[in-house]
């Protein structure tokens, strides 16, 4: 466990830098996180991030890529385009959520 500072706000993060406190996140922080990993946020990106946040509240865990496409309505190809190479990790990082645990 460690802390990191974004926009003058101190946040609790795990050793990799992923946020661990759901309520500490807001969209400004999300923007900073995206910039830090080189993701240019568009409306399509935000749609995904907002789904992740809502679904986490409903399910209590970060949705997997498959769930984002089946329940969130954003198809897999698009997810790989928006968040190249490691979509699941990038999406959760930007959304201030832990990496998904599910396999599919």
């Amino acid at each position: 466990m460690a802390t990191t500072v974004i926009n003058g706000k101190e946040l609790v993060v795990d050793d990799e830098g992923f946020m661990t406190q759901y309520d500490e996140w807001d969209e400004n922080i999300g923007q900073e996180l995206a910039t830090a990993i080189g993701v240019d946020m568009t409306d399509d990106h935000w749609k995904v991030i907002r789904f992740l946040r809502e679904d986490f509240q409903v399910k209590g865990e970060t949705p997997t890529i498959r769930r984002v496409s089946t329940a969130g309505g954003v198809d897999t190809k698009t997810l790989f385009r928006l968040f190249p190479k490691k979509p699941a990790k990038k999406m959760s990082y930007i959304a201030g959520l832990p990496k998904p645990h599910g396999c599919v």
């Binding site: 990191t4 993060v13 900073e32 830090a36 990993i37 890529i65 897999t76 790989f80 190249p84």
Partner: protein, 169 residues
């Protein structure tokens, strides 16, 4: 004002010219042995690894229309299935075991084989069918999964997977 100097940022290997490639040979056609390849392939894709799946021998059933939705699991000859050996070959046991396995998979939202293959394609995997298996079974492209990348022979496969990590299932 951002204090980026104090930010812990994970590395997502974007700068790495990662040519990491994983080739998975799927040679089994039972329900239980179909999934390891699919799941590992999917996991690798999610980590930015290039993935090739090669379907050969019994694994051909995973990409054959009409068979891919009906893969079975039998406890016969499989001590890991935790069933007394004498019971395993009894009529109905294979159906029951298959049904139970499919139910478990569904409960965890693991897609059936055809849908899983589509997910893999959408995520960038290359799916290859074995030429020899196609010939032995007298099958061609029209009998197989529509989104295959091709029917190739063993030499093609070896060329394709130069430098790749190999997994034989």
């Amino acid at each position: 004002m951002t204090a980026t100097a104090e930010m812990i940022v994970p590395s997502f290997d974007d700068d790495l010219e990662t040519d990491r490639t994983l080739a998975i040979i799927c040679s089994k056609g039972s329900l239980d042995m179909a999934y390891p390849g699919l799941i590992l392939g999917n996991a690798a894709l999610g980590e930015g690894v290039d993935v090739h799946l090669f379907f050969t021998f019994w694994g051909f059933d995973m990409i054959t229309k009409g068979r891919m939705e009906h893969l079975k699991f039998s406890p016969v000859g499989n001590p890991a299935a935790h069933m007394p050996a004498a019971l395993a070959p009894l009529p109905g046991m294979t159906s029951m075991a298959t049904h139970m396995m499919n139910k478990s998979l569904e409960e965890l939202d693991i897609p059936p084989v055809p849908e899983f293959l589509e997910l893999l394609k959408a995520s960038g995997a290359k799916l290859w069918a074995c030429r020899l298996s196609a010939d032995m079974n007298h099958l061609d492209e029209s009998d197989l999964f529509d989104d295959l990348d091709g029917i190739i022979n063993a030499s093609d496969f070896i060329e394709l997977t130069e430098g790749a990590q190999l997994l034989f299932i």
